[in-house]
Amino acid sequence: MFTTAQVRRIAAVAVAGAMAISLAACSGGSGSGSTDSAGSGSGDGELTTVGFVAVGPEGGWRTANEQNIQDSFSKENGFDLKYAPATNGDQNSQITAFTSFIDEGVDAIILSATEATGWDSVLKRAQEAEIPVVLLDRGIEPNDPSLYTSHIAPDNVGISASAAEWANAQFPSGAKYVVLEGPPGLSVVNDRNKGWDSTIDANFTKLESQSANWSTEDAKSVFETILKANNNDVQLVFAQNDEMGLGAALAVEEAGLKPGTDVKIITIDGTKAALEALAAGRLSFVAEYNPLFGDTAIGVVKDALDGKTVESDIVVPSVTFDSPAAATEALPTRKY
């Protein structure tokens, strides 16, 4: 029983593998074929097919980012974008979408990974099929630039370092602070921690670093307990996204303290909701993590298909907002 089942499984894997290889070969041929047509005949109105392996609804930032990508890769710009959001942030569904794009023989794939690890084998398959892959936002681990064409993202380390610099200037004699981070293991979380930890002055005391799963509700619940555990003796919160910062502000208000005065809250992302809260004085510092880089992505995809060399790491410039006035000024033109 056991052995037959095993033999059958091996056979199934072998057949699937053979099919995959032949499919990859087919798509490789067709992929390069259409690449040529896209390169030479973009004036003929032929569309370049681009598969977008996306994260899907997650928060204000993600919505803005994916909307921007979808708007940029429009038919008017000569692209046919196939949007494949992950099912509830599950990496497996992303890998499935990625492989089916390879099998379909799209001209290029853009990928916003939910998790950093586990992409090596599918990226190699895309490489064999000669499909350029552009990583958006989240990178891969271990970071092997030979596996992808380019990685376009704002610099997480730099952004959280700028937040830490602001904190250093605000509290010259140090402060007790709490970090509200995303789910452990994500490269964003690691990078945002890295930038913060390497820049924050030694006279600051980290009371706690807890995950609140990017969620307002979790952050409120976590931070109200942290406040109680420390008798409200917390001067600074570093929330790694806007939603968690807003949750922390609610917990501060609930405790009868004033956010912005008693507890200063730093957030990263710069969504409209956060800027409104900054304008109202409920947050103290918002570092933007610029989601609008569709145009950059278009340039990279076009260059890659034309066979030009592309920079493997492109940093999207981001700004910071450190006062209600700055937030009020930026709000009317805020797209997300």
Partner: protein, 372 residues
């Protein structure tokens, strides 16, 4: 599992303590007390409740705990009834998201912060939750689909529906009366907990004072025999899933009212797991049949306490799932009949001074103390 619902008449002359000790959820109570003691060791003022000078409300860790346990309590009670009929409801988390999405979207469009808007939003959310529950009930009872598959479908579809309702956005709204549901206090007690308590009481009275509880149990114990005895399973099954849907809707309202934002991909995420755990910890068997609402309420309190304790003890976030799992595994092991029998047998062997204790059968020693 053992008797949880009907107290035998003889128990009147036993002490109250004796009755409690023989409940299946005794280990949940022990664990709850233990967690509170651990918190107390870390901070002797943990259980202190004081009036906050700025807001005028009672504040303290206990109050936070009651508040956090309310949503879990709601879904756990619904889940208990479903599990008692040999079913399972995996859709509660998604129904929470739908209910939250409906109420937030309604209020953000209605615009005014009146009590009427809040009530209408809550009513609409509960109606849609009841509808989702009814779909589960009809598919399980009339069509005869497996409860696991049926509610798995509603679980996936529900979260999709929530995303459709808010167009993928995390919708926020401003409405003071609605916010009060989760953040306000009545006589110093959090409103959520009062509402949750009242709802649990209503469900308990309705189920236990009528024959409904017995019918639910009989369906869970032996559906065929129940039908032979003249119990119509269809109506009962549908109402059980509808109740579970409504209670999940209430939990969703609690959950979004606390921050006045629905996070479509996070509200109620993995809540079904918390609910099932609360039910199991409370001593209700997943095989259906006898159930204990009190046990599930205690289970919900335990889950909330566990979540809060993890933060209070500053357990690093990488280790929290493992810590939670470890505590729950220990409780389940302590409750397991087989493990308890094993301990009892070893104790009987280790005590040769009392040969009159009879054969070391697993059922012989009825004492509930643990050697560990």
């Amino acid at each position: 599992m053992s008797t949880a619902s009907t107290t035998p008449a003889r128990s009147r002359d036993r002490s109250l303590l004796g009755t409690i000790i023989h409940q299946p959820y005794i280990w949940a109570v022990v664990a709850l007390v233990l967690l509170l003691v651990i918190n107390l060791v870390k901070d002797p003022g943990y259980l202190g409740v004081a009036v906050n000078p700025t807001t005028g409300n009672l504040s303290g860790n206990l109050i936070d705990l009651l508040r956090a346990s309310a949503p879990v309590m709601m879904i756990a009670v619904g889940m208990t009834l479903v599990i008692a009929t040999r079913g399972i409801d995996l859709s509660v988390g998604s129904v929470m998201a739908v209910s939250g999405a409906v109420s937030m979207e309604f209020m953000s469009n209605a615009g005014d912060g009146s009590v009427g808007t809040a009530l209408a939003a809550a009513g609409l959310a509960l109606a849609i939750s009841a509808g989702l529950g009814a779909i589960n009930g009809v598919l399980v009872s009339i069509v005869g689909l497996q409860p696991f598959i049926t509610t798995l479908i509603t679980m996936l579809a529900g979260r999709g529906l929530a995303k459709v309702i808010t167009a993928g956005q995390n919708t926020s709204a401003t409405n003071e009366p609605f916010r009060w549901i989760a953040n306000g206090t009545v006589l110093g007690f959090p409103v959520v907990f009062v509402i949750a308590g009242v709802i649990v009481a209503i469900v308990a009275v309705f189920i236990r004072r009528s024959a409904l509880g017995l019918m639910i149990e009989s369906i869970g114990i032996n559906p065929k025999a129940a039908r032979m005895a003249g119990i119509r399973p269809i109506g009962i099954l549908i109402s059980v899933y509808v109740v579970s849907g409504i209670l999940a809707g209430v939990a969703g309202i609690f959950s979004v009212a606390s921050v006045m934002t629905v996070e479509v991909s996070k509200t109620g995420l993995a809540a079904e797991m918390d609910a099932i755990l609360a039910v199991v910890i409370g001593g209700t068997s997943l095989a259906g049949g006898k159930f204990s609402l009190t046990g599930s309420v205690i289970g919900a309190l335990l889950i909330a306490t566990l979540d809060k304790t993890i933060v209070f003890l500053s357990i690093p976030s990488e280790a929290t799932p493992a810590f939670k799992a470890a505590v729950i595994v220990v409780i389940c092991l302590l409750q397991s009949q087989r493990v308890r029998a094993l301990f009892a047998r070893r104790r009987a062997k280790a005590a040769p001074t009392d040969p009159g204790a009879g054969s070391p059968r697993p059922t012989a020693p009825r004492k509930e103390s643990v050697p560990a």
